[in-house]
Symmetry: C2
Subunit: 443 residues, 2 copies
Amino acid sequence: MKNFKVAILGCGTVGGGVAKIISEIGSELSERANCTVELAKIVELNASYAVTRFELNPDLFVDGSNDVNAEQANAAIKEILADKSINLVVETIGGTGDFVYNTCLDILNAGKHLVTANKALLAERGKAIFEAALANKVTIGYEAAVCGAIPAIKTIKESFSGDVIDSVSGIMNGTSNYILSNMQNNNLGFAEALKMAQDNGYAEADPTLDVNGGDAGHKTIILIKLAYGIDVTMEELPMIGIEKIDKEDIEFAEEIDAKIKLICYAKRNGDEIYATVRPMMVKNDNFLSGVDGATNALRFSNRYSGIHILVGEGAGSSETASSIVGDIIFAARYNEQINNEAAPTSLTFSDDRHFEFPYLVTFSTEDAPGTTGFITSEIGAEGINIDTVSHNRRGLDNATFSVATVPCKIDKINNAIENIKKKRPEILVKEPKIMPILYSDRK
Amino acid sequence: MKNFKVAILGCGTVGGGVAKIISEIGSELSERANCTVELAKIVELNASYAVTRFELNPDLFVDGSNDVNAEQANAAIKEILADKSINLVVETIGGTGDFVYNTCLDILNAGKHLVTANKALLAERGKAIFEAALANKVTIGYEAAVCGAIPAIKTIKESFSGDVIDSVSGIMNGTSNYILSNMQNNNLGFAEALKMAQDNGYAEADPTLDVNGGDAGHKTIILIKLAYGIDVTMEELPMIGIEKIDKEDIEFAEEIDAKIKLICYAKRNGDEIYATVRPMMVKNDNFLSGVDGATNALRFSNRYSGIHILVGEGAGSSETASSIVGDIIFAARYNEQINNEAAPTSLTFSDDRHFEFPYLVTFSTEDAPGTTGFITSEIGAEGINIDTVSHNRRGLDNATFSVATVPCKIDKINNAIENIKKKRPEILVKEPKIMPILYSDRK
């Protein structure tokens, strides 16, 4: 059997998990890859900790169990790049800075396959990296970058290649899902639920990227590129986080048999693609509404094969590492015949004005008779059919209620709101909240 | 771009679906495969019907829209086999007879890739077929053979290649699941529920292979070979159908918060593999308990990546066809570098005596005081811990109750039953029913 040699840059939570799996089941992996998969070198500044934490052979490291400095690490990386016998490099350094970016380019330009879990790097600076892989006829494995252990990437790339993905909706950020689940199941406010997530290790001290949709956005950009062959930037992707979800929103969700979830969403309509990351009202007949806690899940609606659901662990050391090892085996198997990335397509990135959704619109108004009639009439005047109107919640001197519409374009909702404000400027005491509704039976 | 030419043998429900997808989205498929995927020829006796049903170009058929006889069809197959420009043949003839078996061998021996949905053929006569693929360095695509649209095969082969599958449990026969769902949700007996399935097109006039576990057994054998590299015959695989499930079983299931499902099950313990197809008590905290109707679902418990769930359509024309087209694209992409099937492993096929399960044992006894105490004492005497004992159901002169055990070996259950019979031969009015229990948190 031929040898297939692997180096790992960065031996933290994920990189260490990769080293551990290869150390533990290397011979089974080699059988599957039809070549000897060999872990040749690990570069890690904090080697002493990594050796102990993952029970690894110190000989794999630059200077055994001794920690090394940046200069030594850089020299080791240069050696790996120059070593023709190394076929694949795992980048588990993380971040989006120039060092990791250039290192990835160097790996590919040295004719080596690259496997990475770095969603931020691929989403924000991925274009040149994918181009370098193509130019050098090597592959980039990034199964671990989207939803940890869930085989989202290979399912789209290798399993759904005989179909057209009409839409994909996913719960792809465990932290925000954990927070929303606790708000809904335990009647907590956002701040309390966030603190609980931090106390239980489900949220970082700085949870910004998790709760503002940024992390989910990175994953969505990678999925869109793969599923539809188009490059979308973080600036272009409409993103709304979960910070402003309050108990009232959750009550309105319950009233229409729905749960609020941070949904990564992409939909194809002819040659147009719309995508967004934002809280949506997910009806309870949609599988995603029942996905609680830190679990991740993806729901595909395909033209020929119908509905698919994938559920699994979105994070964790060995969970994410197993996806990386799967990518290593794939590269080892199909080494000489790598087919990179979706070919450029004629699809274009569009916005929600071209797509119809059912929406839940929440109005806070003066508490006066005739208000519901006036507002729903204005919605009707725009040609929007109303599905349900919630019970009216009366406060001290104002009232709140929500209107669920059948699928319509967002412009019509906005027109209706504008007309309401124009005709009775005093009636709305705050800006209406608008949230799309996800059904099970509507694609 | 290079050409990748495909022929289809048999243009019925599935083969016709394949031809339709390629006809409709051929150019997208070619972009993905990085070569021009061309449907070159379709061989079908009943061509006139197929052309109309799937809206296909008659020029693809042997004699246009005209039906052909067996002789003409055989001549056309010979031509395809001799045509060096054809890269891949889709076998959607079906059956396990010599004709289809030899045709598959001929395809592979002619150096062409084979894609098939024929689970019975692969499960019963697959060994020589897989060997021929290996010898000729071509691939067999059979994603469509297991659970229709669900990407079970590629998930195991390409996505879980960096992990160890500790166990897999699946609902892989839509007909029997539809029947069981209706027995449980609508309080029907087996015969009534079967008739309802037949009336609604969910069961064939001869439902034998669906309700006796045979169809699920075929799929299980294919999965075991792929996941564990071992060949198991239909005779070796322990199989129990759903024909004997009655309302009482369903009541006992409800009492322990479970549903009865026909489960395809395989588990690895060290170097031993156990597999079975049989009704199991699936606790409601296990995702599979909520999978109703004709839907299929698979639940994997992996050593490194934890629990995975895949849900999708297990049957249907375009659903199954999309899996076949996915296999065609895969073969086209990695044409020169096909890696066939799991390497032989040192794992052995074992039986349930080496594996522990929690069991539900249902006893029908004389209605006499002290019976429960006597029976549960005998179970305890074998060192089996009891989880719960059900309410006693009293009939005219006998009583029925069930005992849920913690995980134990089946031999101990059998010993306890033997001791009960030996000590008080009169006490059991019929043979106890034994059914494994599937929890969510136990692998």
